[in-house]
Structures are given as structure tokens and as C-alpha cells.
């Protein structure tokens, strides 16, 4: 197994390089379509000389293709350029912000997946039952609540009115509660629905009956036998949701002052801080690729048929 797994991973990593290049290329050119950053970084009354100087200093006076080649050669040397805004190395800004996002996203996904598996499976256990209906209502409502709305309400209720939690910030465990809760609602809702859906089919498959005939209790039937069969779609969707978190926990990071990459990215888009934007996108893209490899590896681990399809 590990043999085919290694081959599989190696191939994935190699084939991941080209898309990464595509992402870098896309971001580089698209970013430069969004206008000249000079307006933002120079005083409103800046003279043409100042503008020319600014362009020369940042290389914007070159043709875009030349700029891109320069950028590529920089990247190869692991130099990601300097932030226009903070004059810091872009890599530093990005690496500083990234762990905060990862922690938040990791904690959120862990909770969301666990909770959704439990709720979704229980709902699927008796489709159309009261419990199922309730879970359906809860999850679809939870998936559709506007998150900034939820976040602000959360602050108003739990921080301002009840004074149980801090309003924002990153100090202490309490500070994690509201950000995670806000991030959680959508993945939880979506996952419950997906898990429920695939569990309904898995629970009516013949092998569940076999498991029961062995004396397996319902917990085992649901969470061991059926769940693993139902995992593929849930895993895909969970992956996409995780990607969404890595790529843009913007609302939460903005509202709660969480110094993460989502906020960094949107700020650098709005501020036309190209170097930071490119570095951030590159890093998240690498993360997302890694995540996808992980997910594919999970498929393969979960289901030998997939693994063999890949190996042969």
C-alpha cells in the first residue's frame, strides 16, 4: 500500500507544480489589471516626477511580462518582494499571519466535521423522522445565516450583554469562542446536509445488515460501517470548506481582529499591495494543494478501490 501511496504522492506533487505556476501567473497579471497603486501610496497632490520615481522604484515602469520574469527569478531565490504598504518583506508579513489562520481553520474544521458527522448520521438513521427534520432545519439555517451578522450578534449577546467572553482579540481561550463559532456555522450546516445525504444510502446498504448480524451495536453500524462508505462526498465538501477557510476567513478576521491571512489578503487587494498579495496567494495555494493531496490520500485510505484505480 505505502508503495502505491508514495508513487501516488510523488505524482501529485509533481503535477501540482504547474497549477501553482498558473496561480502565480494569474494573480500577477490580474493584480496588475486593478489599477496603478501610485494613487494609494503617493499623496493626493503628488507630482508626475514623484509618480515616475515611485514606478521606477517598484519596477512598475517595466512591461508586465518583464516584471513577471523578474518576479519568477526572485521567487526562485525565495525572495517574494517587499510590501508597498509596510516596506517589510512580503514573506514575513504572510508567514506571520498564516499560523493564526491555520489554527482557527484547523480548530473550526475539527469541530465542524465531528459535530456534523454525529448530527448528520443521527439524522440519516431514520430519514424523515422528527430528529431528521430538526437536524435539517438546524443545519440549513446554520448554513445560511450571514456570518457577519452572526458575529456581531454574538459579540452583542455574549460579550456586551452577558459579559462572558471578550469582544475580540486573541488573548486567552475565551477569545477563540466567538471566532470559531462564527466560522463554524456554515461548514457545520453544509456538512450535516452532505453527511446525512450519503449516510442515508450507506445505512440501507446490505453490509449494515451483515454488521448487525454480527452483534454490532448501532453506534458501530453507523460510525464504523456506514460512515466510512459515506465519507467520500463529505470529505470532498469538507475539503472545499476548509479551502474556503484558509482562503478567506475575512469576516471573522476583520471583526474579531484576528491577525490572519484572509484579512491580509483582502487588505492587500484593496491596497494594491502586490507583493504581499502574491506571496499570500502563493502560500495559500500551496496549502490548498497540500490539503487536496491530503484529501485524495484520505480517499485512497478510505477506499481501496480508489487507491487501486490510482495505482494501476
Amino acid at each position: 500500500m505505502s508503495d502505491s501511496m508514495l508513487v501516488f504522492l510523488r505524482r501529485r506533487i509533481i503535477s501540482g507544480a504547474l497549477p501553482l505556476l498558473a496561480v502565480v501567473l494569474g494573480v500577477f497579471f490580474l493584480a496588475r489589471l486593478t489599477g496603478d497603486p501610485a494613487n494609494l501610496y503617493l499623496p493626493l497632490s503628488a507630482t508626475p516626477e514623484m509618480r515616475a520615481e515611485f514606478a521606477a522604484r517598484n519596477g512598475f515602469d517595466q512591461p508586465v511580462a518583464v516584471q513577471f520574469l523578474d518576479y519568477l527569478s526572485q521567487i526562485v531565490r525565495l525572495d517574494f518582494g517587499e510590501s508597498l504598504r509596510t516596506a517589510q518583506p512580503a514573506a514575513q508579513a504572510v508567514l506571520q499571519a498564516f499560523p493564526a489562520t491555520l489554527q482557527l481553520a484547523g480548530a473550526t474544521m475539527a469541530i465542524a466535521v465531528t459535530a456534523a458527522v454525529v448530527v448528520g448520521s443521527l439524522a440519516a438513521y431514520r430519514p424523515n423522522s422528527l430528529a431528521d427534520r430538526f437536524a435539517g432545519l438546524l443545519s440549513s439555517a446554520s448554513a445560511s445565516v450571514p456570518d457577519f451578522w452572526f458575529a456581531i450578534m454574538g459579540v452583542l449577546v455574549f460579550a456586551v450583554t452577558l459579559n462572558w467572553l471578550p469582544t475580540s482579540g486573541t488573548d486567552g481561550m475565551g477569545a477563540w469562542v466567538l471566532p470559531i463559532a462564527t466560522l463554524l456555522i456554515r461548514p457545520f450546516g453544509v456538512l450535516v446536509q452532505v453527511v446525512r445525504g450519503s449516510m442515508v444510502s450507506a445505512l440501507s446498504a446490505p453490509y449494515t445488515r451483515v454488521a448487525r448480524s454480527k452483534g454490532a451495536d448501532e453506534k458501530r453500524v453507523i460510525f464504523v460501517h456506514a460512515l466510512r462508505n459515506a465519507a467520500a462526498p463529505a470529505l470532498t465538501v469538507a475539503g472545499d470548506l476548509a479551502v474556503g477557510l484558509v482562503n478567506g476567513a475575512v469576516v471573522v478576521e476583520t471583526i474579531f481582529g484576528w491577525p490572519g491571512i484572509g484579512k491580509l489578503m483582502i487588505d492587500s487587494i484593496l491596497q494594491r499591495d502586490f507583493a504581499v498579495l502574491q506571496a499570500a496567494v502563493l502560500l495559500t495555494a500551496v496549502t490548498i494543494f497540500a490539503l487536496n493531496i491530503l484529501i485524495d490520500a484520505c480517499y485512497a485510505l478510505l477506499d481501496a478501490r480508489v487507491r487501486q484505480g490510482v495505482a494501476t
Binding site: 500500500m1 505505502s2 508503495d3 502505491s4 495505482a311 494501476t312
Partner: protein
């Protein structure tokens, strides 16, 4: 279509040297290949029924899948009416598909649980649109259902609402829907009760008599095989070890494995059938992952000698009949065959 106008010479279907391997896990790490088919040679004539028997796991279903082009063989060739079906494309391939059909061993998994019986049976007509005019389809479905002993009212029921045997009959009806020339039947009747089995077997025989359909008939039930087959091929561990006319094989088996197989059949009900002593096979069942050298059967063969472990026996005509071949260095003599097995 040149294939169909060409004068029919030779057998309808000829497989030679078919070999097919699968990757299987060896241990916790690493995998190895399992040779499910190992140089299978086979012919099927027009209007003939070829019985295919052999131990479970010897590769019968795999062979069937290769014959239906569901698997591509690693080596070996297939020829149907003189052409290689794997080389066919487009319309010609479609025409070939119509002519060769299969009844799957697994009646549940081979039926899409989201389609009802009528949809399942009429499904082939969606691809072969001209075969049955749209307005006749409902009637044809009804006839097919009744042919296999189901009720017309069953048309709207879904696979999981049928019993095992009923599902199997839907599979048979579906295979018949295209009026094929060849049907590969993988255990078509094992899930049926005797009366329905009789009905289905009669149906197959009628079709053969009327339309000249050929069958590859895979079954464990030797009495069924004996009843339906014109010729029998005996498989062991991925290879054909003996072929011959049904009569020859059943009365005069020359390969020790065939003899053992025949002797293991449970005592038939009827007192008029000859009762024989059972030849119990001894020794480890060899694994297709790691087949024995030389003759594949030698590890369980009472007659094996040195030679058997060194060279694989060639397939040779035995007992003077060119149609009766066996792959054995020391074929059983005609004396020890048939009823004589009880003495041996």
C-alpha cells in the same frame, strides 16, 4: 459490414492465450500481481453451448469479463467472426456489443437500484435505438418478463423489492433484450428454484434452437451443465485444463482435476444415477498469486510426479478425439474414467 457478410468459417469466438493479472496487496506494504487468467484458449461455435466449470476463484468470471471486453487482457487475442473486437470502433463496435451479451453473477450489483424492472430491461434499447420501435417496447418488456417467469406487474418494481432469484431473472431478461448471438451466462440459474430454473433453461434452449444463439454457460451445478452444454471446458487456477464434448467429459474425464470435480457433486436425488465415490482433493489450495511451477494442479494431484513440477503440460488431444483435449502429463486412462472413478 464486412464481418457479417464474410462466409462463416471456423468458430464464432476464439480466445487464445488470454492472460489477465490484477494487483493485490501482498502484505502490509507492497503489492503483487495475481494472475487470474493464464493463457486461456477457448473456442465457441455457432449455436453451441459451452459449459465452463471450475473451482471458485479459478477465473471464470474474469474470463467472462474479458470476453465481454470489460477487461482488457494483458496478453492473448480474442477473435469474433474473424475480427478482433478490441480493434473495433464506432458503429462496428456497437454492432458487436449487440451481438454479445452477459448475465452477471451478482444479480444485485449489476442492476442499478434507481431503475425499475422495465427500465432495466429496456435499457439496452436506448443505445440500440432501431432494434425495437419505441411503441413496441412496453410490450416487449412484458413478454421478456413473462419469459423469465416474472409478472408483467413487476415492471414497476425496483431491484431491492425483488428476491434474489427474481433479480437474477431480470438480469437474464435484460441480456435477452438485444437478441444477441452469444450470451455469456455467469451462474445464471444458481439462485433460482428448480421450477424456474427449468423454465429459464428451456427458454435458453428454445432461443438456441430458433435463433442459433451460442452460450458460454458458467455454472457450478454440474447437472445443469450436463443438461445444457454441448461442450465443456474445465478451468483450474486461471487455465483451461480440459475440454471436450459434454458426454466425453462427464463419462470419460481425463484430467485428474475434472475427475475430482465430477466426483464431488452431491449425490443426485434420483436413485437411477450412478453413485460414485468422492475423490477428496487434498493439499493446500494453491494461490493464483503464487501458482505452483509446472503443472498447476500438481500440488493436489494424486498422480503427480517430478515432471509435473518441472514443465507445464501441453494441451493435447486425448482419447483419440481431437475435440477432447487435456493439459496433463499423465492423463487418466479411459478405464479409470466415468463410472470407473468409483473404483479408482
Amino acid at each position: 459490414m464486412p464481418e457479417t457478410t464474410a462466409p462463416p468459417v471456423g468458430p464464432l469466438l476464439r480466445a487464445s492465450g488470454l492472460t489477465k493479472s490484477f494487483r493485490v496487496p501482498r502484505s502490509a506494504s507492497g503489492s503483487t500481481s495475481l494472475r487470474a487468467l493464464d493463457g486461456v484458449d477457448l473456442t465457441l461455435d455457432r449455436g453451441e453451448t459451452l459449459g465452463l466449470v471450475g473451482e471458485s476463484g479459478c477465473g471464470k468470471s474474469t474470463l467472462a469479463r474479458v470476453l465481454l471486453m470489460l477487461e482488457r487482457p494483458d496478453r492473448g487475442t480474442l477473435s469474433f467472426d474473424g475480427t478482433d473486437p478490441f480493434a473495433l470502433r464506432g458503429k462496428q463496435l456497437l454492432a458487436w456489443r449487440r451481438r454479445v451479451q452477459m448475465v452477471f453473477q451478482d444479480p444485485f450489483a449489476s442492476l442499478n437500484p434507481r431503475l425499475n424492472a422495465a427500465e432495466l430491461i429496456s435499457e439496452p434499447w436506448r443505445t440500440h435505438r432501431d432494434l425495437v420501435p419505441r411503441r413496441d417496447r412496453a410490450e416487449r418488456v412484458r413478454r421478456l418478463l413473462e419469459m423469465v417467469g416474472l409478472r408483467a406487474g413487476d415492471a414497476h418494481r425496483y431491484p431491492q423489492e425483488f428476491s434474489g432469484g427474481q433479480r437474477q431473472r431480470i438480469g437474464i431478461a435484460r441480456a435477452l433484450a438485444l437478441d444477441p448471438d452469444v450470451i455469456v451466462c455467469d451462474e445464471p440459474v444458481s439462485a433460482l428454484d428448480l421450477s424456474v430454473q427449468a423454465q429459464v433453461l428451456n427458454l435458453l434452449a428454445e432461443l438456441q434452437a430458433e435463433l442459433g444463439v451460442s452460450y458460454v454457460f458458467i455454472s457450478h451445478d454440474l447437472s445443469v451443465v450436463r443438461h445444457v452444454a454441448d461442450r465443456v471446458a474445465v478451468m483450474y487456477l486461471g487455465g483451461v485444463v480440459e475440454t471436450g464434448s459434454t458426454e466425453e467429459i462427464f463419462t470419460n474425464p481425463r484430467h485428474p482435476y475434472t475427475a475430482a470435480l465430477l466426483s464431488s457433486a452431491p449425490s443426485p436425488l434420483r436413485s437411477d444415477a450412478p453413485s460414485r465415490e468422492r475423490i477428496l482433493l487434498t493439499g493446500e489450495v494453491p494461490s493464483p498469486v503464487d501458482p505452483p511451477s509446472g503443472c498447476r494442479f500438481r500440488t493436489r494431484c494424486r498422480h503427480s510426479e517430478d515432471l509435473c513440477s518441472r514443465t507445464a503440460p501441453p494441451v493435447e488431444a486425448v482419447s483419440g478425439d481431437p475435440a477432447h483435449t487435456a493439459a496433463c502429463h499423465f492423463p487418466l486412462g479411459p478405464a479409470s474414467a466415468g463410472s470407473g472413478a468409483s473404483g479408482g
